[in-house]
Amino acid sequence: MNYNWDWGVLFRDPYLGWIISGLGWTLVISLLAWVIAFSLGSVLGIFRSSSSPVLRAIGTIYVEIFRNIPLLVQLFLWYFVFPELLPDDWSRWVKRDMPAPAMTTAIVAIGLYTASRVCEQVRSGIDAVGFDQRQAGRAIGLTEVQVYRYILLPNAYRIIIPPLTSEFLTIFKQSSLALTIGVVELTAMTRQIEEYTFQGFEAFTAATVVYSLVTFTVMAVMRQVDKRTALPGTFSKGAA
């Protein structure tokens, strides 16, 4: 193997700045996509567990569509296809005038995709709380909405902290797909460093270390959160 090591490249201008800005964009995409995934996923999860057949069907159709098409294809659909299906002036706005079109598209696409996964987690959390809890709530006269608000959701979210943590970390990793539509996030930045300097080892190592560090930090933090929110007298099953 014939290779000229130069770890210093990572700390030279402009490459260090590239890595930092790449991580910044990765975090921006992940966090904003997570906001979409968590809120929409929660609503859909509630739909899928509700007593209304119409709401259940909406949830099911959403999940089936979004989880059976590769995320990369979805990203292309939102970026290349969706604007073309809109009326002309809307299409122009989405393609040109919308702030940071590629970044925004990536956030929305990843958020909507992950919402289908969050939905399944929320639904299984609600199922795990149990049908009898639902009945006990109804038996004291609570409405279905109140049963969700005061009984099912507070317990369900506690149960699914570990799987939701993995879903967030999945988003964090999948934010790298944004590079396919030109968003220069962390992975793209290190690829760019490789192409400029031919120091692939150092560049990819930097990305690897940063991804791992963030992942392990998030896991450690969420394990604490899981412990803190565990109910007295119960054991949490631990983070994913």
């Binding site: 009945q135 006990a136 004291i140 006269g141 007298g233």
Partner: protein
């Protein structure tokens, strides 16, 4: 107080869980419902407050129809207490909060009133010193007494018990039955699904025996234990009383 007329219920198309059940419970009466497992007794009791919808027939509680579309079921349910086999206390709330939830959210009581009521009821079921514990920190018998207090907090006109002692270790059964006996003696209208025949003998006015979704026998408890008319009831009794 509770009137059921020709109640029928199917699960799916083929499974007929309740067959033409007719039953009435007068104010202050205590009715014990018994029968082999799968006989439909739990389903029957859950139709009274509409937790189990029915396919045909009519159910009224204190003159309000459970089956009528315009009935506000949540309101009716708030006036009928229910105790479940597995207690079903809300695990994320402490004991007092469990008893306060319905009072505040359904009856619109303020926090202070609800708290006072909750503590009084906990005292009544002998658990005053556990007011701030979480359900998972209590024994099964204690949890079930809290569940009874939760039902009573709504000042119900009747209480439904769905096998309240069958998930309990034997040594805890009596502490729950004692609370129930006391309630019965105070004149609470009660419908109790149970195999505790001692309880039935002691406080039940009538015993209803179900099998395969049918009410096979509905007799004053003296008569039921004296000489049940149906063969199925005799067989059932001999099985559960033989040891």
């Amino acid at each position: 107080m509770i009137e059921m007329k020709s109640v029928n219920k199917w699960y799916g198309k083929s499974f007929h869980v309740l067959k033409d059940c007719t039953l009435s419970v007068a104010k202050g009466e205590v009715i014990v419902v018994c029968g082999p497992s799968g006989s439909g007794k739990s389903t029957l009791i859950k139709t009274v407050n509409g937790l189990e919808p029915i396919n045909s027939g009519e159910i009224t509680v204190a003159g309000t129809s459970i089956t009528a579309r315009e009935t506000n079921l949540d309101k009716v349910r708030s006036k009928i207490g229910m105790v479940f086999q597995n207690f079903e206390l809300f695990p994320h709330m402490n004991v007092t909060e469990n008893i306060k939830l319905g009072q505040i959210k359904v009856l619109g009581r303020n926090n202070k009133e609800a708290e006072v009521k909750a503590l009084a009821l906990l005292d009544r079921v002998g658990l005053a010193e556990h007011a701030h514990k979480y359900p998972s920190q209590l024994s099964g018998g204690q949890q079930q007494r809290v569940a009874i207090a939760r039902g009573l907090a709504m000042e119900p006109m009747a209480m439904l018990f769905d096998e309240p002692t069958s998930a309990l270790d034997p040594e805890m059964i009596n502490e729950v039955l004692d609370v129930m006996v006391e309630l019965a003696q105070e004149g609470m209208t009660m419908m109790v699904v149970t195999h505790e025949m001692g309880f039935a003998r002691k406080v039940a006015d009538r015993v209803v025996f179900m099998d395969h979704g049918e009410i096979v026998e509905d007799a004053p408890s003296k008569d039921f234990f004296g000489s049940p008319r149906s063969e199925r009831a005799q067989e059932f009794l001999s099985k559960i009383l033989s040891h």
